[in-house]
């Protein structure tokens, strides 16, 4: 994408029918550090890579608890993510106050998407520069959604966003078919493997990643560092190969097809991203 005369404000269409400001906002998501989500019938796991500016500083918080039954992982402009998380928390609390019942995840996601859409149609606003992986549980089961700066949202069995997320997506595409029946611990293990893929050789330790889980009988909670490190050690995956019982279709993914209904997000930058 290069600069052109149609990309100055969000309310200008390009002759090809694109809103460049929105697409640039999606670029911001791709530049953020990776976040991944995966779900089974009863649990949803979120994981993200922690990037600290320097050794002296702490890393930014990218996973937020929105309610007992909903949590969100973000990639992109974390400040925008924080603001949207606050909005989501507010909506959940208001719904709970009026109805004594948890807000259905699908409705929260639609409200979030409509909020993002507003910013694509006002000349005095800019799109939110953050992608959100919303994980939640409600009456109709476990859900994982991806909310885009464009105002689109999709439901996924598993997804990854942020930098080097394609590596994680490739891993998830190989594994996703067994996720619905996976146990909670297997899901967490797969999340750690997926995070490892995005690290491209860096050592996987609990200081580099954050894991959060929500499920039937388990309120949304972020696992603490010791637990995560213990899991990493147990699965012996810090830098080593995946255990042999994983086999079947290892390596040589490259299957361009088998883009399942749920795991969308095809080529980046080929089609106009709003088409995805």
């Amino acid at each position: 994408m290069f600069r052109n005369q149609y990309d100055t404000d969000v309310t200008t269409w390009s002759p090809a029918g694109r809103l460049f400001q929105v697409e640039y906002a999606m670029e911001a998501v791709k530049q953020g550090s990776a976040a991944i989500g995966l779900r089974s019938k009863t649990h949803v796991v979120l994981a993200c890579v922690n990037k600290a500016n320097s050794e002296l500083s702490s890393h930014q918080r990218k996973i937020f608890k929105v309610d007992d039954h909903i949590g969100v992982a973000i990639a992109g402009l974390t400040a925008d993510g924080r603001v949207l998380s606050r909005y989501m928390r507010s909506e959940c609390i208001n719904y709970g106050y009026t109805y004594e019942s948890p807000l259905p995840v699908g409705r929260l996601v639609v409200q979030l998407a409509d909020k993002a859409q507003v910013c694509t149609q006002r000349s005095w606003k800019r799109p939110y520069g953050v992608g959100l992986l919303v994980a939640g549980l409600d009456e109709s089961g476990a859900h994982l959604y991806y909310n885009c700066p464009s105002g689109n949202y999709f439901e996924y069995q598993a997804f990854a966003i942020g930098s080097r997320s394609q590596a994680a997506k490739t891993y998830l595409e190989r594994k996703f078919e067994k996720f619905p029946e996976s146990s909670r611990d297997d899901l967490v293990k797969d999340a750690l493997f997926a995070i490892r893929e995005t690290l491209q050789g860096e050592k996987l330790t609990s200081s580099v990643c954050t894991i959060a889980v929500v499920g039937v009988g388990e309120a949304f909670n972020i696992l603490d560092q010791e637990t995560v490190q213990a899991l990493i050690n147990e699965f012996e995956i810090s830098g080593e190969e995946a255990p042999t019982n994983e086999s079947a279709a290892e390596q040589a993914g490259g299957d361009a097809d088998s883009a399942p209904d749920q795991s969308g997000a095809a080529a980046e930058g080929e089609a106009a991203p709003m088409d995805i």
Binding site: Y97, T98, Y99, E100, S101, G106, R107, V110, D138, E139
Partner: protein, 242 residues
């Protein structure tokens, strides 16, 4: 004249006060019980205008969405207002078109918020409401008063029902009542109310809500018994001038 204007403007929000001071056309008791398959509710069809029984075909039991049933006593026009609120609530819920729907617990709490907020503005909706329903196999029965007092129970009643029907229900209610047993129990309570509540009329409806759906019966009457010996010659013990 000036001072009386100031007095009323202290309590009213704008010049033209719309507060409910007292009810005009009222319905009397509603009773609700949980039974084996769901909820049963009974209410008569009377609308009193003070001490006159003015209207005798007032439907005080209504469906709310897919899963709930509401019964109301008190000011009928306020009940109609509440039905409009609920209509809008259910409409917006359906417009989401996403497979989720508001259950009886959610509707009950919504009504509690409405009633309590009106009470805080000194402009109550002059009703006592009973909300019952079944969703995903779970039975729910709750009550809200005009000041926002709300609770759930296995059997609830409004107005005179609290004093005349609840004692019967506390004695004879069981978790596993069949439909026929439940109706008989409700009829026993309604008959008692008919004898003792002056605003009761002998024309009632019974509504049943289960996981499958809701039915409200056609109006019918209860048999009553008046052939007590003491009624034959009522003044035999103490003759009076009339």
């Amino acid at each position: 004249m000036v001072s009386s204007q100031n007095e009323s403007s202290l309590l009213s929000s704008e010049g033209d006060s719309q507060r409910t001071q007292y009810p005009y056309v009222t319905g009397t008791s509603v009773i609700g019980i949980k039974y084996k398959d769901g909820i049963l509710m009974a209410a008569d069809m009377g609308g009193s205008y003070g001490s006159t029984i003015r209207y005798k075909s007032v439907e005080r039991l209504k469906q709310v969405g897919k899963h709930s049933l509401i019964g109301a006593s008190g000011e009928i026009s306020d009940f109609q207002e509440i039905l409009r609120y609920l209509d809008e609530l259910i409409l917006h819920d359906n417009m989401w078109d996403d497979g989720n729907s508001l259950g009886p617990k959610e509707v009950h709490n919504y009504l509690t918020r409405v009633m309590y907020n009106r009470r805080n503005k000194f402009d109550p909706l002059w009703n006592s409401l009973i909300l019952g329903g079944v969703k995903n196999g779970k039975k729910y029965l709750g009550s809200v008063s005009m000041i926002g007092v709300h609770f759930e129970d296995d059997h609830v009643a409004t107005g005179f029902g609290n004093h005349l029907a609840l004692p019967i229900l506390r004695e004879e209610w069981r978790e596993d009542l069949t439909f026929e047993e439940g109706v008989k129990l409700l009829e026993k309570c309604m008959r008692n109310l008919l004898y003792r509540d002056r605003s009761a009329v002998n024309k009632l409806q019974i509504a049943k809500i289960t996981e499958e759906g809701l039915t409200i019966s056609q109006p019918y009457s209860l048999k009553t018994f008046w052939n007590f010996a003491a009624f034959q010659n009522p003044t035999v013990g103490a003759e009076g001038s009339w």
